[in-house]
Every structure is written in C-alpha cells, then in structure tokens.
C-alpha cells in the first residue's frame, strides 16, 4: 500500500472509530465493552481495507463488524444484546457524542499516560501497536495502561458524562493538556519517524473536533491555532538529510503563509473574547515568529511582553528560559545571561538551558565556557536531531 493510502486509511479510521465508540457506549452502556468492540472492528478494517479498498460507507462497515462481535460476546439474555440486535445504522438522532468520550478518557482519576493512550485509542481509533510505535514504548506497556484504565473506569465508577458548571474549566484543562502532550510528542519526533503515526496530525484533529463542539472556548481555539501555526512551517524544520534546521536558518518561503494567516485569524477571534490563557498566549508568541518575513524582522519586544503575560498566568522555569532567549534580542546578552543564571538551580538537568547558555557565552566572547555548556547540553539530551545540532557546534574551531 502506498504511503498516501496509509494516510487516507488512518484518516478514515480516525473519522469513524470515535463516532462508533460513542454510539456503542450509548447502546451497550458499558464503556469497556464498547471500546473492545470498536478496537476489533478497527483491526479488521486495517486488515481488509488495504486489500479490498476503503468501503463507500466505512461507518456502516465498522458498525457491522462491531455488532457481529457484540452479539457473540454479550450474554443472550442481556438487554443490551437485544438493543444491539435491533438497532439500524445509522442510529437516529445521532449527535456527535465524542465530546463525552474525550472527557471520560481524560478524567483526572486516570494517570496521564493512560489518558493519552485511551484518547488515542478510543477517540482516534489507533491500535495499541500504532500508539506504541508513536511513543517508542513496548506495545505491552501500552496495552497494560489501557487495560488498567478501563478497569479503573469500571471499578472506581468514573462517570461517562460531560462535566458541567464550574467543573468544566478544570476538566477542559485536562483535555487540552492531553492534546498538547500529543502535539509535543509528535513535534519532538525526528524526520525518520515518518513511518509512525503523525501525532501532530492527531493532535490537530482532536483540537479541531473540540473546537467544533466547543466553539466559544477561547483556549480551545488557542491550542488549535498553536498546532496549526507549527504545522504550517513543518517542511522547513528539517533539511534533506533529516537534520534539524533552527528557526533563524529556516527557508521561510517553504512556510504555508495561507495557513499561517488562517491560524492567526482564528487566534484574533479567540482573543476578542477577552479570556486570555496559556494556549492563546503560546500561540500568539508563535504567531509573532510566523508573521516575520525574515528572522531579522522578528518583533522581539512583543514576544517578551507575551512571555511576561504567560509567566503571570502559568509561571514555569522553562517559560522563563524561553523568555531569556527573547530577552537577548531586546536587552542584550549580558542581561539575558543574568536572567539565565537565576534559573541554574532549577534547570541544571535541562539540555536547552545549557545550549542557551552556550549561545550567550559565544556572543559574550567566552568560547571555552560555550564549549563546556554545549558539552553539558549534549550529555543531557537523547533526541538524535538535537544531538546532531550540538555535535555540529562542538566541531567548530
């Protein structure tokens, strides 16, 4: 099968698997069972569709397989079995119930790693193997996480319900955090992980789904804009050999300017609701970079202001680190270095801290300390693309 048809297959599965899961949970009343049935149908689809082609009605196809299995598995006298046997596809008045699915998969009573695996499996229709490959962990680990999570949903009585009222804010944060983690994981993947599922695409799809179902939540729009702004520039991030190209060296003619404009417009609309939040602010920072015609045109002052706002809402040493990188261009390397030194205690084990230190040392004309810092950074990162960049720097002189 060609790479394009693999992508098409993944897209179709993702489009319909979640809907089917949501419908089946309604019909069967058992989250765990419904999930198993959908997974069986997805596995069957991934085996048959490459051979037979994607059916005209993929949703009906998946439902047929799931139903057959459900009738086998559910006890004869069960009410649910009767309902399942009688139901016609498509189910009448089928609203998009995937929102409940997403919120349940991201319930805070589940460990974060399980939230991620469950969301990918149940809402995006990925198989255990696909999830494992995307995160570079053994399939058995993923399987165990999912099994435990499903067991906890049943045993601890985690409700299959949309949170309401003042719960919604906190729960929405959990969902956005999962989507952001997916995006981040995909973003860090190097070019030669092209064979694995594109987590960034899944993250965008989830953000888009959430935005469609909750259009008035500005942080959802913010996260969607953030992901789209990154995707609009992805082809320029890697060179022909799969090496990482730094932002200042990227060929901006390869950026999708139309996509950048759309994402920026989305962000501006969200901002008009006057409910700022960390995702909107991060997106705004990326938008500053994306709007600059050339590296030299970057509005660093604006970026520093945005980081100040972000730190106010969500203080973190890593965010302060990113701010010092911008500060270098507004206030000079000495000021930036002074800020950076304050973070030494907290970020000593973070490679980017040392890499930034090295950059500033070079600018300040302290090459030996720069080398030492680059060396330290190299020891602290396992990411092959970043290692390559650091080794390159160490080979200068």
């Amino acid at each position: 099968m060609t790479e394009a048809s693999h992508a098409e297959l993944a897209r179709v599965v993702r489009e319909y698997a979640g809907r089917l899961a949501a419908s089946l949970v309604e019909l069967i009343g058992d989250f765990s069972m419904a999930e198993d049935l959908v997974q069986d149908a997805v596995v069957a689809a991934l085996q048959r569709w490459p051979v037979d082609g994607i059916p005209d009605r993929p949703d009906a196809w998946l439902f047929t397989v799931a139903r057959r299995r459900g009738l086998d598995v559910l006890r004869r006298e069960s009410n649910y079995r009767r309902k399942l046997a009688q139901v016609q596809w498509p189910v009448e008045h089928q609203q998009d119930d995937r929102l409940r699915l997403v919120f349940t998969c991201c319930h805070p009573a589940l460990p974060r790693a399980a939230q991620i695996a469950l969301t990918l499996r149940v809402v995006c229709g990925l198989t255990t193997e696909q999830i494992a490959r995307a995160f570079l962990v053994p399939a058995s680990t993923v399987a165990q996480r999912i099994t435990r999570a499903k067991r906890k949903i049943t045993d601890a009585g985690i409700p299959y319900r949309m949170p309401t009222g003042d719960e919604l804010g906190a729960r929405l944060s959990d969902v956005l955090a999962v989507i952001y983690l997916l995006f981040n994981e995909g973003y860090l993947a190097t070019a030669d992980q092209a064979q694995s599922h594109d987590l960034v695409e899944d993250a965008e799809w989830l953000a888009r789904l959430l935005y469609g179902l909750m259009p008035k939540e500005p942080e959802v729009a913010g996260l969607l804009a953030l992901i789209r702004l990154h995707r609009a520039r992805v082809t320029a991030r890697f060179d022909a050999d799969g090496g990482l190209v730094l932002l200042r060296d990227q060929d901006r003619s390869r950026w999708d300017r139309a996509a950048i404009e759309d994402a920026t417009a989305l962000l501006v609309r969200a901002a008009s609701r006057h409910r700022p939040g960390p995702y909107q602010l991060q997106a705004a920072i990326v938008a500053c970079h994306a709007e600059a015609e050339r590296w030299e045109d970057t509005d660093w002052e604006q970026i520093v202001v945005l980081y100040d706002m972000l730190l106010h809402l969500a203080p973190s040493p890593v965010t302060r680190l990113h701010r010092t990188i911008a500060l270098r261009y507004t206030a000079g390397p000495e000021k930036a270095m002074a800020e950076l030194d304050e973070l030494a205690g907290q970020l000593d084990r973070y490679h980017l801290f040392h890499a930034t230190r090295a950059e500033l040392m070079r600018e300040l004309g302290r090459p030996d300390e720069a080398r030492a810092a680059d060396q330290r950074a190299l020891e602290l990162t396992a990411n092959p693309a970043e290692q390559a960049v650091l080794r390159e720097r160490l080979s200068w002189r």
Binding site: D155, A156, G157, I158, P159, R161, E167
Partner: protein, 116 residues
C-alpha cells in the same frame, strides 16, 4: 456506588490545628460537622479516629505476631478519620470531597462489591 473516604492529616495541618486556640479549633470542628450534616443523605458510616499515638499495630508476617506502638506507617501523614459514602459515581464523590473543609488530603477508594 460505595466508597470509603480516608481523611489524612499532613504534618502542616496537624501543626496548624495544634497551634490554634480553643475557640478557633472548635470553629474548625464545627465546619467539619456541618459538612457531615450537609451530606448526611450520602454518608452511611464513619468516624473520626483518635490521635495516632493511641494506635497499636500488629504484624503477623514475622514468625510470631509482633505488637508495635503507633500507626502502621511511620510517616508524617496520618489517617485521622474515615467515612463511608453511597453516591452515583466517582464524579459525585469528588464533588463532595472538593468542599471538605478539614484536612487537606482525602483518599477516595471504592468498596469491593458485596458478594451475596
């Protein structure tokens, strides 16, 4: 669904409670009692426990049964009480616990379904 709530006092909380004057402490207990009253329709049992130094622990996995003074866990966080609740699901249990005015840590554990 039935859950047990385990109320856990952190060291900080214990210290703060100790440091309170009698009126302030009485007010704190009053708030806890009020919470129990508000949720009385969902609380099916439970009690405050006496101080950890009143505890005795028996270990049966060391040959002969061994008796020790104090709680089973040597730690700064101690279970100070428990409640048994009966609610629709974990969401409801969490909503209840979020309004708890007492100690800062509460564990929510579902009961094993009764075997008939």
């Amino acid at each position: 669904m039935k859950y047990v709530l385990l109320f856990v006092d952190t060291e900080q909380f214990s210290n703060d409670l100790q440091a309170m004057g009698p009126v302030e402490r009485a007010r704190a207990y009053e708030r806890a009692n009020q919470w129990f009253a508000e949720h009385a329709d969902r609380i099916t049992g439970g009690s405050k426990l006496q101080e950890p130094d009143t505890a005795t622990t028996v270990r049966l996995d060391r040959g002969e049964p061994m008796i020790f003074d104090g709680p089973f866990v040597e730690g700064k966080e101690v279970v100070s009480g428990y409640a048994e609740i009966d609610v629709a699901d974990l969401g409801e249990a969490i909503r209840m616990v979020k309004t708890w005015p007492g100690c800062p840590v509460v564990e929510i554990r579902p009961l094993e379904p009764a075997r008939l």
